[in-house]
């Protein structure tokens, strides 16, 4: 490790720590999220240029903020077409320049409000889902374009383009950089929760490629969930989503074995579940209930995962309750995937025969045509019923549909086990 890369890493770390406050402060000053984001990047570049010579300053955050503000100031001053709004900003900035470097006691007070505004802007429903994901990772988590590309398994140029387009949309639409209120709030909040959940699932399920788990995306989503529930603590669905993510992530260490092979829920070593994280998930869930959130989309899902978290051994799992929760969820958002999950719970509560009846009702479902978990679940039920030949065929079909190589391997193994059982 050379000294240059050491300082480089130290600089990036200092910048990431400061990044949320940098971008919220600049957004407040400029009322322009895109420009604010660019200037926070510029501040990083400036630090990368000067800190290797001067060393990391005692107060890196203050340095970065002062630099970013100075650049904002320069940019506005250079601009020939000063709008009235900008003129006012210029005066404000000039005043602030004079009082620097005594930084921001006042600004810190509205850090939460600013952050909330930023979250709502980055996750604006006007933007495509992919754009919202990219923008959230960039603006809220401080990930680079390259990191986002690697994490989301898309080319860097694609991510760059998504971000540029999204920023243009935000600028051109003249969207107010405001926190939505009243009726609009719930719709906008749903969009934010969707983005966070997408990011979490992208990391947790890693549906494509060789990586079973891309933990960084899960971590970023969790951080955003905690952020949101801290600055908007009265939203039960946000708490439900946080609970869902904490409870799912608590099993991360147990989800793969020493060779990196996936370990299914009921085979996991529960000692390796993260108790601290389970506790936090339970706390968020309880809070969601206190706020009247029972029956919400995310709260229901968290409730289901909590049933596993409460069970110290697989045998203690309250399957009838899980089946009932899935039925409630299916009534809220009719979906064949939820029905399939309900079938699994029913198989545990009542046995494979009752579950197979549900699954057989789903085989013609167009939405599940290429969904590998349908033949996988069916194979499992058939195996348990002693119908090994049919089980083998189902697992082979599942292997053909799985797009994750590890899952393909798992399906093939189950198919082989079915043949062996048939031969006995």
């Amino acid at each position: 490790m050379t000294a240059a890369t050491d300082i480089d890493r130290a600089i990036r770390a200092a910048w990431r720590i400061e990044q949320p406050r940098l971008i919220t402060t600049l957004s407040r000053m400029l009322r322009d999220v895109s420009l604010a984001e660019e200037l926070t990047q510029d501040a990083l570049v400036a630090a990368l240029e000067s800190w290797p010579a001067t060393g990391v300053p005692d107060k890196p955050g203050a340095w970065l903020l002062a630099t970013a503000k100075r650049r904002a100031f320069d940019q506005l001053r250079r601009s020939k077409m000063l709008a009235r709004k900008h003129e006012m900003l210029l005066h404000e900035l000039e005043r602030e320049q004079q009082t620097m470097p005594d930084l921001d006691a006042a600004l810190d007070d509205d850090f939460g409000d600013e952050l909330l505004r930023l979250i709502f802007t980055a996750c604006h429903p006007l933007l495509s889902r992919e754009a919202r994901v990219a923008l959230a990772l960039r603006m809220l988590c401080g990930l680079t374009t390259e990191e986002i590309a690697r994490a989301c398994l898309v080319p860097e140029a694609t991510v760059a383009q998504r971000i540029v387009r999204a920023k243009r949309t935000l600028s051109e639409s003249g969207l107010g950089y405001e926190t939505p209120r009243g009726e609009e709030l719930s719709q906008r909040l749903a969009s934010v929760l969707e983005v966070i959940y997408l990011i979490f699932n992208e990391g947790y399920a890693a549906a494509r490629g060789d990586e079973w788990l891309r933990p960084q995306l899960c971590d970023e989503a969790l951080r955003m969930g905690r952020m949101l529930t801290r600055i908007a603590p009265q939203e039960p669905e946000a708490l439900g989503l946080l609970a869902l993510m904490e409870l799912n992530a608590s099993r991360s260490a147990a989800r793969t074995d020493a060779d990196g092979e996936p370990v299914l829920l009921l085979d996991q070593d529960r000692v390796r579940w993260d108790r601290l994280q389970i506790q936090r998930g339970m706390l968020a869930l309880a809070r969601a209930h206190e706020l009247g959130g029972a029956g919400g989309f995310y709260v229901l899902q968290a409730e289901i995962v909590a049933c596993h978290g409460r069970a110290l051994t697989p045998g203690e799992t309250d399957w009838p309750r899980i089946a009932a929760l899935y039925a409630q969820l299916a009534a809220l958002v009719p979906s064949p995937v939820i029905e399939l999950n309900r079938a699994v719970a029913v198989s545990m509560a009542e046995g494979p025969q009752a579950a197979l009846a549900i699954v057989d009702g789903l085989v013609d479902e167009p939405a599940l045509k290429s969904y590998h978990l349908l033949p996988c679940v069916r194979g499992d039920l058939l195996h348990r019923l002693g119908r090994y030949r049919e089980a083998q065929a189902a697992f082979e079909a599942a292997a053909g549909l799985a797009c994750n190589t590890r899952e393909q391997g798992l399906m093939r193994r189950r198919a082989r086990e079915a043949i062996e059982a048939a031969g006995r």
């Binding site: 890493r9 720590i17 949320p20 850090f111 952050l115 960084q216 969790l222 951080r223």
Partner: protein, 118 residues
């Protein structure tokens, strides 16, 4: 990655100054809202504690304060951060607050990664 921060300082322990309390609260609030600080807490003086120790195959209980203790744990925090670089940057920022708001104070902030893939 999950990190624990343990702050120790030599006896006799000095509580934080009011300026330090304000600065620390601002930092904690920012870190909680940024989703990075998971937990934190200050610890009461040694006389509230006890030590259960094994030596020479025997178990013994010693009530606080422990006269032989040179360094005292004053508090802890748990953070979830991307890597050790971030953890170090965080620790430096926290300790810089002491330099700024508690002149003459000396102490150590030790940071340790949790075992397991957090």
């Amino acid at each position: 990655m999950r990190f624990m921060y343990i702050v120790t300082s030599p006896q006799p322990m000095r509580g934080p100054s009011p300026e330090m309390m304000t600065a620390m609260q601002a930092l904690s609030e920012r870190e909680i809202k940024a989703g990075r600080m998971i937990d934190n807490g200050g610890l009461m003086p040694l006389q509230t504690g006890a030590r259960v120790r094994i030596a020479d195959g025997k178990l013994s209980v010693i009530d606080g304060p422990f006269v032989e203790a040179k360094e005292v744990i004053g508090g802890y925090a748990i953070f979830e951060l991307r890597d050790k670089d971030e953890a170090l940057a965080m620790a430096k920022e926290f300790m810089q607050l002491h330099l700024d708001h508690m002149p003459g104070w000396e102490g150590t902030c030790e940071l340790r990664a949790f075992a397991g893939p957090h």
